[in-house]
Amino acid sequence: MMAAGFALFGCRDGLLGSSSGSRKLPTLGDFEDEVRRAVAQGGRGFELVKVPMPGSIKSSLSTVRSQDSANRFGMAIDLDVCDGCGKCILACNMENNVPLVTEDEAAKNRFMHWIQICGGVPFMCAHCGDAPCEKVCPTGAANHTPDGLSAMMYKRCTGSRFCGANCPLHARKFNFNDAQALGLARKFNDEVPQRGKGVMEKCSMCLQRLQNDRLRFKTEVGVAKAAGVPVLGSGEWRGRGVQTACSEACSKHAIIFGNWLDENSELVKVASRRELYAPSVVAGLDPSVVYMRGRR
């Protein structure tokens, strides 16, 4: 009796094998192969409708306080230039330590990539101002930052997957696997923690790059003020000079990242001369990531 209890309850992990066993690391080539496969398999495109230029966040959630923020980060993807090569996906995977998937999942087109080529165009989380995913999160793991990013707190996520079910773009990816134990994950970037099994993840608009730049900026301004050195500009951080991994990697400069509330941002300068589109399913949700086509 005791032995049975021991086997059933006593050392669950001990008998079933520990996850900290020998881990093989996938090579960069494995990631490149998977991206090529994902691009080749592709996904169904979204119907695009015209949208106005994103401004301050319009959210029905009282917890989203955007009026006191000078920043709303977003991206515009140039449909006239993008040829769906998939370089953005590989750059994103390496920046954010996105794991590989098993052969079965790959055959079903279920990749963990935060960017998916749908109808020849990259689609990622639109960082909706009025984000439907955040409204259904039971733990508050999906929440908005004052900078207009739909952020994901992995340690808070309990894996209910309500957010994924409520996302019209299917931009959220769930870790069904323990990718590290299966040898499907590799840490390319120390700035981003690896996600465990049972955690939802999605495009963070390279939150780590933005926050690191903000910390650097605030430190420099603080040190300059303390030393009595005059500070150029308002001394407020606007995220200038930061690029997301995908926009940095795009050789055709089709992904433009910037601050919608900063008229000096390249994003605003370029987007104001173009017609803007968004997937019809999120067009009414105040998306931060939009698509550009033609001239206005």
Partner: protein, 198 residues
């Protein structure tokens, strides 16, 4: 029927007893071992009180990133040697120190941060906002002099390390919400998750 229910109860009790006796601890990985967080080979007897409190060195002189960078950093041997090239006092203890320094590696201290992977703490931005190092690194003790440190046998608190403190999110958040350090009039600080978490 009565015997059956007694048997079921017995089985359940046996399982629970087995779990109690052989089950794994609640959090075997969360053991924080402060003695391993800072190591130095060979042991250099370093006293913060001798450098900071008595000769007034700023923390950032040795912890070069403390006021300007994310990590405070531990000093390299070359930082020590800036001052310790010449015997500094007539104190006989200085010879022990000189020989320890001579035999030390170029980076004598190896520090393993206790900060979890999903938390970001930037020393520089706090310093720039007017937070003093000692506001966090001398917790719950008031002014700590050398006498207190030397006589303090409290577990996990060593007089060669500043702190030995256990930080938690409550401590961060109470200050970020303006509930502690009211007399210091810090600017309002961010309290949204992504400010510090990834």
């Amino acid at each position: 029927m009565k015997y059956f229910s007694v048997a079921v109860l017995g089985i359940i009790c046996a399982f629970l007893l087995a779990d109690f006796l052989f089950g794994q601890g609640v959090s075997p990985t969360q053991k924080s071992d402060l003695d391993e967080s800072v190591t130095s080979t060979p042991a250099i007897v370093f006293k913060h009180a001798l450098h900071g409190d008595s000769i007034g060195l700023d923390c950032a002189y040795c912890h070069t990133g403390a006021r300007s960078s994310g990590h405070a950093f531990m000093p390299a041997k070359s930082d020590c040697m800036d001052c310790h090239r010449l015997p500094l006092t007539e104190n006989p203890g200085i010879e022990t120190l000189d020989s320890a320094l001579a035999g030390a590696a170029s980076e004598p201290w190896v520090v393993k941060s206790n900060l979890p992977e999903h938390v970001v703490f930037h020393h520089g931005v706090h310093s720039a906002a007017g937070v003093e190092c000692a506001d966090c690194h001398r917790p719950h003790r008031g002014a700590v002099g050398e006498a207190t440190l030397a006589s303090d046998g409290a577990q996990g608190f060593r007089n060669d390390i500043y702190g030995g403190e256990k930080f938690d999110m409550k401590m961060c958040l109470s200050c970020h919400r303006g509930e502690t350090f009211k007399q210091k009039n810090f600017k309002p600080a961010a309290t949204y998750c992504a400010a510090c978490h990834r």
